[in-house]
Amino acid sequence: MTTTYPRLALTASADSDADVLYEFNVDSDGFAGHDGVDFGAPEWSGQPDAVGGVDGYRTVAFTHWFAAGRADAYTELATLSRLLLRADGWLLVQMTEASEPRWFHTWRSTPASLSPDQVLIKGDGDLAGSWGISVSLKADPFLYGERVTLDTVTIANDPTAGTNPMSVVLDEIVGDAPVPLRITVDGLDDISRFESMLLTLTAAEEAVMPVLWDIGTGDGAEVGTDTGAPVSDSSYVGGSYREISFATEADMVSRLARSDPDTDPIEIPGIGSYRAILRVSFPDGDPSTTKFALQLKAAPTPLPAVTVVPAFSVGGTVWVDLGIASWPLGLPSTTDAGGPYGAIFEIYAARISGAASIIVDALLLIPDIDVVDSATSLLTLLPDVWSSDAVAVWDGDTESFWVLNPDGTAGYTSPSPLAGVFPVAIPGRTNVLTVVTQIGDGGSGDVITSSVDVTVSYLPRFLWPAP
């Protein structure tokens, strides 16, 4: 039996090893095939320049021919009809023997009509005849390739680490269309429960990494009210920090600044929006009785203040999300506007109640839209109940979060609130994944010496079958 090309077949999944449920090209009599194949095209919904338009379904259509006697034809027709009437399925397309296979994810839709004109009876009785069946299938906008799994990388929880400092440049993403990722993170068992974790994926022509302002020794800062001199301590980012005591002024005033655009701006790679996160430690006594408010002022307007209530009583460290700011203000992304840009800003802090001081040691600016082609963020409140040593999995294809035991069995967990959009990578761009394992004020401590092992996989998406 010889396989002819282009090959069309219904398979159990988008996998070369998957069971073939129906072969459109060959049959036991050696005569089968198809013609009039039309792969269709995804229909764009929305105005051409609309924000948030989406790719609609496409229609794949062809006529399937086979030669068989009546009994075989009956079996053939029944087999195919049952598959076409399933809720969804996978249609394999392989243009040549050397081409890589790709799959349409098909959905139950109106079957094509069957015309007596397509039935050619060549003889009497149960003699062989030629049967033609029109097949029409609604499918996801893009074809899928086999799952691609990137090498596992270790991401250091230290923005000054030499390798993968809280971010990693993903290997080249295969495919044509933006693709949701499956992100597997191992090593979270060191993290306290009920902690929020942020996954951000940015895509740009060239790698755009988060920008760090390492607060402490050599930070070039203008010191504000009640902010101390740099203190060396290897457990802090860059080996040093500054303490804000609130000794003379508890209200919201500038504590730390890089405010002179001529002499000490922070150089950022491109104009546009950045999410600013500040690493804050609460070292004193029982900080859980103290409330703080933090604010970033990206001249001339401040972002809304963020209130921080430490949930721990013996000191601890978290990243605080101060919001998304734009440098310079109000300028949409355009290469004509130049770059890189010298950003200036001030960190404001207030102590609303209590007597504790705070320590700040790093401000990280994660590029957002305007700076990159695409930015997608997902915030996860990690469940308070899950298997020990479990591996966390975020799957963009199914928009799900689950945990796995080390042996691959399903781990025990409770529902985990998710906020945002599952990270989406863009082929042909440089995709950077940033992992912030401790964000918010509900956990018990961020440690720069920790790390997580991250494995990214995805089903690549293509506009056309592989030639």
Binding site: G52, V54, G56, S196, S273, I324, P332, A375, A419, G420
Partner: protein, 539 residues
């Protein structure tokens, strides 16, 4: 259309007691609406899912819409969903109420400042010889003669036992559960001076914070909770006989004590759940009322660390008490008449599931910049500009009265134009109220209302964050600058349709009709006689 397949679109999360999933791939036809004030108002979405998949979808389930930065664009509670099983398949038509509905959940009577004598009744502890009623100071009272008061006394010829005999009136007006009397102020005046009789103010359950010999001459008594008295669950004014047994004189009519109410204020609840005395007895400011109301009506659902109340309000509110159960939203809407330049919103929940709250000025600088090319339509005004209004009322004798109130409207030049006449409700007629209502009516008719709509289907500039933002990220409650015309208009409503990929903006100032203006101007106000001449003032 489904939300799925591109990174720059929204995601939808449905949280039920038994599941918590992002379901962007399964939803279509998403629309949501946000308003000022209030915030997240309502949303509709169709969920394509087997009918058995969400058996517990109901009012305790939440719907979230996120943008690609993880920001909560919309949040609310699902209603009982409609289930559909049609040619289009199985699914749920989910209608959701935004989190602003939390402001309408709790209801309670509440006391802020009450000057009404309706709130007082004769105490059950009075002796048979006593009399107590709402009336006026007698003509021989001097400075207070003819002013309204609670008049206490003992009937001539009646026997009073040794240290026995009590005339009293008790406050029976509204208070919230657990709310105490935060501050009280009276003017008292007696018909004679005698150590045999005491003027007392009783604070339940066990405190007589004022106890003095009956005396002539008007004097003001002020007391604050925790400073002047330590309890405050009940309030009564008393004339107490403490002398030897006697018969009340039949020859002179001086055994009386009048209590004029200047203000009865409730305690204000702070974020820690503690009842506190107000800052002053004369009036309340809107932000003080809002602060109490948020702690009182949103307890358990609001994150006190994310409550932001601007303290810049200035209108002196002298009467605000709700005898019938009231909701937070009604209170803040009422305050809008006093502080029209403030708005409010319930902000999305944080990681602890508790929502935030903000009460803030509209501001004077625009936040968003749009273009007339954004489907901008400004409707013409057929509203009448007026600079005169005749306000009519019936005085306490039923005699008709009227007052012409005038104002300056530059657009009318020298033209004199009367608004439709206004009649004050029964029992609320006074020259002061007529002036107050007339000014409010003319203020509303002094400039044409500005209203417009725009449809935003592109990214626009947000001057607050300096970012170009998507249509679905636009927040009502801020000013919008129309670039070509230079108009700065209030953004009162934003409605986003994902099928249209556009946000419909409603711009302009709220317009009140005369009935609303009258109701707001006179809310809770009751008249007491000012003097024997029959002139009435609002209390």
């Amino acid at each position: 259309m489904s939300l799925y397949s591109r990174p720059d679109v929204l995601s939808v999360r449905i949280q039920t007691p038994t599941s918590d999933r992002i379901v962007s791939r399964r939803v279509s036809g998403l629309t949501f609406r946000k308003v000022a004030g209030g915030g997240h108002a309502d949303a509709q979405v169709h969920l394509n899912a087997p009918l058995a998949s969400y058996p517990d979808l109901g009012p305790d389930c939440k719907l979230y819409v996120y943008d690609s930065a993880g920001r909560t664009v919309w949040e609310g509670y699902t209603n009982q969903p409609g289930m559909t099983y049609t040619d289009d398949g199985e699914g749920f038509d989910v209608n959701a109420q935004g989190i602003m509905t939390l402001a309408s959940d709790a209801a309670s009577p509440v006391l802020y400042r009450d000057t009404s004598y309706d709130s007082w009744s004769v105490s059950g502890a009075v002796t048979p010889s006593a009399n107590a009623s709402v009336g006026t100071f007698p003509d021989d009272a001097g400075a207070t003669a003819g002013l309204g008061c609670m008049l206490l006394g003992f009937n001539p010829g009646q026997p009073l036992g040794s240290a026995a005999g009590k005339a009293a009136m008790t406050y029976t007006g509204p208070r919230a559960d657990g709310q105490l009397f935060g501050a009280v102020q009276f003017v008292h005046d007696g018909g004679l001076s005698s150590s045999d009789y005491k003027m007392q103010v009783y604070m339940g359950p066990s405190d007589t914070f004022y106890n003095a010999n009956l005396s002539t001459g008007a004097a003001t008594l002020t007391g604050y909770y925790s400073t002047d008295y330590t309890v405050g669950s009940a309030l009564a004014v008393i004339l107490q006989h403490t002398g030897a047994a006697t018969n009340v004189s039949t020859s002179s009519d001086t055994l009386w004590l009048g209590w004029l109410i200047k203000g009865i204020l409730g305690t204000l609840l702070d974020a820690d759940g503690t009842e506190n005395a107000p800052a002053r007895v004369d009036y309340l400011l809107a932000h003080e009322v809002v602060g109490d109301a948020v702690n009182r009506f949103l307890a358990g659902v609001v994150d006190v660390n994310r409550v932001s109340i601007d303290t810049g309000t200035s209108y002196q509110i002298d009467q605000l008490a709700y005898a019938d159960p009231v909701r937070l939203q009604q209170i803040i809407d009422d305050l809008a008449v006093y502080e029209p330049d403030y708005t409010w919103e319930i902000t999305p929940s944080g990681g602890n599931g508790l929502v935030g709250f903000a009460y803030r000025p509209w501001g004077t600088t625009p936040r968003y910049v749009i273009s007339t090319k954004d489907g901008y339509q400004r409707t013409g005004s057929d509203a009448d500009l007026c600079n005169r209004v005749v306000v009519s009322w019936a005085d306490e004798t039923g005699k008709p009265q009227s007052l012409t109130v005038s104002s300056s409207v530059p657009a009318l030049g020298s033209r004199v134009r009367y608004a439709d006449p206004v009649t004050l409700p029964d029992g609320q007629g006074s020259s002061a109220n007529a002036q107050r209502v007339g000014e409010a009516v003319l203020a509303a008719a002094s400039q044409p209302p500005r209203s417009a709509t725009a449809t935003i289907a592109r990214r626009i500039l947000d001057l607050q964050t300096g970012r170009m933002i998507e249509p679905y990220d636009i927040e009502p409650g801020y000013l919008v600058r129309v670039r070509e015309t230079g108009d700065d208009l209030r953004l009162t409503e934003m409605s986003y349709s994902h099928d249209d990929l556009a946000a419909q903006l409603t711009l302009g100032d709220p317009v009140y009709d005369n009935d609303q203006i009258i109701a707001a101007s006179l809310r809770g106000r009751r008249l007491i006689p000012l003097n024997s001449g029959g002139t009435y003032v609002a209390a």
